[in-house]
């Protein structure tokens, strides 16, 4: 097939990137329907034409899970769509999700050879198109799985847990994923809004995991209902993966934070997305109503909170960020969409105080913020210019709802309830192979690294799965067969000993 492909050069390929059909900015800003509508077959074939199929592709190295990008794009071009899906699914079981939420400009597309001269190939859009097609056609990559008798427990059903579960199930393990919420999906469900990642897509990807034999147990708070130690000692798990996320939202510690009009982006998004408060009173969970909403921070969570606020009916939605647009950690597409939808950005601005309303009957309500202008100074430890306050530039800013999206800290529950070693900041300490201080327990995602991206969490889940397989001796002898030192390796105390 490869020989049939004509030799492409940067001059012969379509020069312009195929635009993504999107809902009109004005109309979509009040709707939770998905903004980016997705490529058609014609779009996908045209964009696939733009890939040079580099023999030494940089994009694969740019992908945290190492998808064989030229191969899947080549198969799209050859109209072997199922083959394209199988190529992606070999390393990424969740293409419909990753195609939507990965920061491709910093990953595969950031290093694309075409991107040196023209706009890079729209790898993310093509991945999403393949993922959506797979969901529509009911394709799943459920291979024949030879059960190996090992039982794996996974704590947290977010992206890290889902990726680890998929790989362990494919390796033949019996996998159970525990989730504290009443629905699986983690941050994909409670955090990322429907207009960016529809719940139906997440549910379909979870259904694919079920087809691999993965069991999901919701309403289960591991650490409190049972501990990691109990999972290994009483419940018969041979290895456990912890992917509980960062969670615990940061506050700034400025006056006025306990006012009733102040909340975390996590709370706003969870109420709106998972609990469906946007459909109050049909759903019972209430939402704080804001006419002038100010969101502090400029990461992806901030973009979600800004755009959700707009859709909930706010008249004005403001983004307050202490650095400039260039330093904004948000995915380029989200920032662009937020600007299109009419979010007002206040770069180089930092809040000093949240002002309450002293008027009778309004106690506890927010009337605004006192802010200060910032200027960029010398680079700090993160390599970004350090924002420094401009003396005498304080000003007041009217707002009735203030949303914090300035990052998160480690969720403390696993640390409180196990002997697992933590680092100074409370995150789980893990080595390069994502093994923790407890034999048989692996950890990955935000609970190890601090807040990062969905695909990085998935990458960590897959890496932990590889380490787990090595720890369990998979790829070699199956338990019940060969005995090592005369001990059946299915005895988990022995397998734990082996890693110790």
């Amino acid at each position: 097939m490869a020989s049939a492909a004509k030799k492409k050069t940067i001059r012969t390929i379509p020069q312009a990137r195929t635009p993504m059909p999107e809902r009109d900015a004005k109309q979509r800003a009040r709707s939770f329907q998905e903004v980016a509508c997705g490529y058609s077959v014609e779009h996908a074939l045209r964009e696939a034409e733009r890939c040079l199929l580099c023999p030494e592709p940089l994009c694969v190295d740019g992908c945290p899970v190492g998808i064989d990008i030229p191969e899947f794009i080549r198969r799209i071009g050859a109209k072997d769509f199922r083959g394209a899906y199988d190529t992606i699914a070999a390393t990424n079981l969740l293409p419909a999700i990753c195609g939507r939420v990965c920061p491709q400009e910093n990953q595969c597309e950031g290093v694309c050879t075409v991107g040196e001269t023209l706009e890079p190939v729209a790898i993310g859009r093509l991945e999403r198109w393949v993922g959506d097609r797979a969901l529509a056609e009911g394709w799943s990559s459920a291979p024949y799985i030879e059960p190996n008798g090992f039982r794996i427990g996974i704590v947290g059903s977010g992206p890290a847990g889902m990726a680890c579960a998929a790989d362990m199930a494919k390796a033949g393990c019996e996998v159970t994923v525990y989730e504290a919420f009443h629905e699986p999906g983690g941050v994909l469900k409670y955090g990322i809004p429907d207009f960016r990642l529809p719940n139906s897509v997440i549910d379909a990807e979870i259904e694919n995991l079920r087809k691999l034999g993965v069991k999901f147990e919701c309403n289960t708070l591991v650490g409190r209902l049972f501990t990691l130690e109990q999972m290994l000692d009483e419940m018969g798990y041979h290895a456990v993966f912890v992917g509980t996320g960062a969670g615990y939202p940061s506050m700034m510690g400025i006056p006025g934070e306990s006012l009733n009009g102040v909340l975390s982006a996590n709370e706003l998004l969870t109420r709106c997305n998972l609990m469906r408060a946007r459909d109050f009173p049909r759903f019972d969970t209430p939402l704080p109503a804001g006419k002038r909403v100010a969101v502090i921070g400029s990461g992806n969570t901030a973009m979600d909170a800004l755009r959700v606020s707009l859709r909930l009916g706010a008249e004005k939605v403001h983004c307050i960020y202490r650095r400039s647009r260039a330093e904004s950690p948000a995915r380029a597409e989200e920032l662009h969409h937020a600007e299109e939808e009419g979010i007002e950005f206040h770069w180089l601005t930092n809040p000093l105080e949240i002002l309450g309303d002293a008027e009778a009957g309004k106690a506890g309500k927010v009337r605004g913020m006192r802010c200060i202008r910032m200027a960029l100074g010398a680079p700090d430890a993160s390599g970004r210019p350090r924002p420094v306050p401009v003396a005498g530039s304080e000003f007041e800013f009217a707002a009735d709802l203030v949303v914090y999206a300035i990052g998160t800290n480690a969720n403390p529950i696993i640390g409180q309830t196990s002997k697992l070693g933590l680092d100074k900041r409370g995150y789980i300490a893990a080595d390069d192979a994502l093994a923790t201080s407890m034999a048989g327990v692996f950890a990955g995602g935000d609970i190890v690294t601090g807040a990062a991206t969905v695909i990085e969490a998935m990458g960590a889940g897959r890496k932990a799965a590889r380490s787990m397989q090595a720890y369990l001796g998979l790829g070699g002898a199956a338990p019940g067969g060969e005995k090592l030192f005369g001990i059946d390796p299915s005895e988990h105390n022995f397998t734990r000993l082996r890693a110790a």
Binding site: A180, F181, H182, Y190, E217, C218, N219, T220, L221, R224, L225, F226, Q230, E234, M235, G245, G247, Y248, P249, M251, G253, E257, S258, N260, L263, S264, N266, E267, T270, R271, M275, R276, F280, P281, R282, F283, D284, T285, P286, L287, P288, A363, G364, Y404, N411, P412, I413, Q416
Partner: protein
């Protein structure tokens, strides 16, 4: 180890008054894991909200947990109407929060008022099991609303029942009972208070001068109960704590109760409209239900604690 049930079956229900009712729910694993002071989050139906409720009892032998609920808002009234023996809850997660630290003092007063009466029972039982002399103080509006008196007597060495009208026990609020206990027991080592914030605040004030260690169980608004949303943040001394993972028990002399009460009113308008809309829809579908003459204290809102 018992498994997590696929359905959260209601195995018993008891109505203590026209507003207060008990649900016993099968969950063998939780019955085994639960400790005094912990709470659960419940969803009655898929469109419902998640509400935190402090555990009123747990029995590993029976494999059940017990909740005592006051029907004051839309969700809790709906539960009062819909939860029947043989039925099930949509979601039940727990136990959540740090267990109470039991066993520090030789003589302990356990105070329960309003919604906090029932959750005081596991604390009193645990204190007694730890060898403490336990003074129980529980408050009700009147004699007809008194429940679990035998249960409390079994867990306490001394029980002070307070009623607003004096129809049972002593006349007065639980804080009056606290004053009596403090006079009777100058050697009181610790006081544990569970109930509406105004009550816990009054208890903390009563013990402050005598420097009696006072632990309270706060009941702020929550969504997830796992430290993720930050809605339940409370001011404790000069720190901000999340009740769901750092609490729900805190030093009563350090908690900013005024802040707690203000934050409990965050969704007052939405809660009122939801209740009115629901009550109206109930009236349309059935003969008018008799409204309780005296509405419970708004701070007895069923949010756990």
């Amino acid at each position: 180890m018992p498994s997590t049930p696929a359905v959260y079956e209601i195995v018993a229900r008891e109505d203590f008054s026209d507003a207060t009712f008990l649900l016993e729910i099968r969950h063998p694993r939780m019955a085994r894991a639960a400790r005094p002071g912990q709470f659960v989050i419940v969803m009655e139906h898929p469109e419902g909200e998640r509400i935190p409720l402090t555990l009123a009892d747990f029995d590993p032998g029976r494999g059940t947990i017990t909740l005592v609920i006051q029907a004051v808002g839309k969700t809790t009234r709906e539960m009062q109407q819909n939860c029947r023996v043989g039925g099930a809850l949509h979601a039940l997660v727990g136990p959540m929060g740090m267990p109470s630290v039991i066993g520090g003092a030789k003589k302990v007063a356990c105070v329960g008022g309003g919604l906090g009466v029932a959750p005081m029972f596991p604390q009193a039982r645990a204190c007694k099991q730890a060898g403490a002399y336990v003074v129980g103080i529980v408050g009700f509006r009147s004699r007809s609303l008194v429940f679990w008196e035998d249960k409390f007597r079994s867990a306490c060495d001394e029980l002070i029942v307070c009623t607003n009208d004096g129809s049972a026990g002593m006349k007065g609020f639980v804080t009056d009972g606290v004053r009596v206990a403090l006079e009777r027991h100058p050697d009181l080592g610790e006081l544990i208070a569970i109930g509406p914030p105004v009550m816990m605040k009054a208890c903390a004030e009563a013990t402050r001068a005598r420097k009696v260690k006072t632990m309270v169980s706060v009941n702020p608004i929550m969504v997830d109960g796992t430290g993720m949303c930050g809605g339940c943040r409370v001011k404790v001394g000069d720190k901000v704590k999340f009740a769901c993972v750092d609490g729900p028990d805190f030093d009563g002399h350090q908690v900013d109760f005024d802040d707690l009460m203000a934050r409990l009113a965050r969704f007052a308008a939405q809660e009122k409209s939801a209740l009115e809309r629901w009550s109206a829809s109930c009236r349309m579908s059935q003969p008018p239900a008799e409204e309780p003459l005296e509405l419970p204290d708004p701070f007895e809102e069923v949010r756990g604690g």
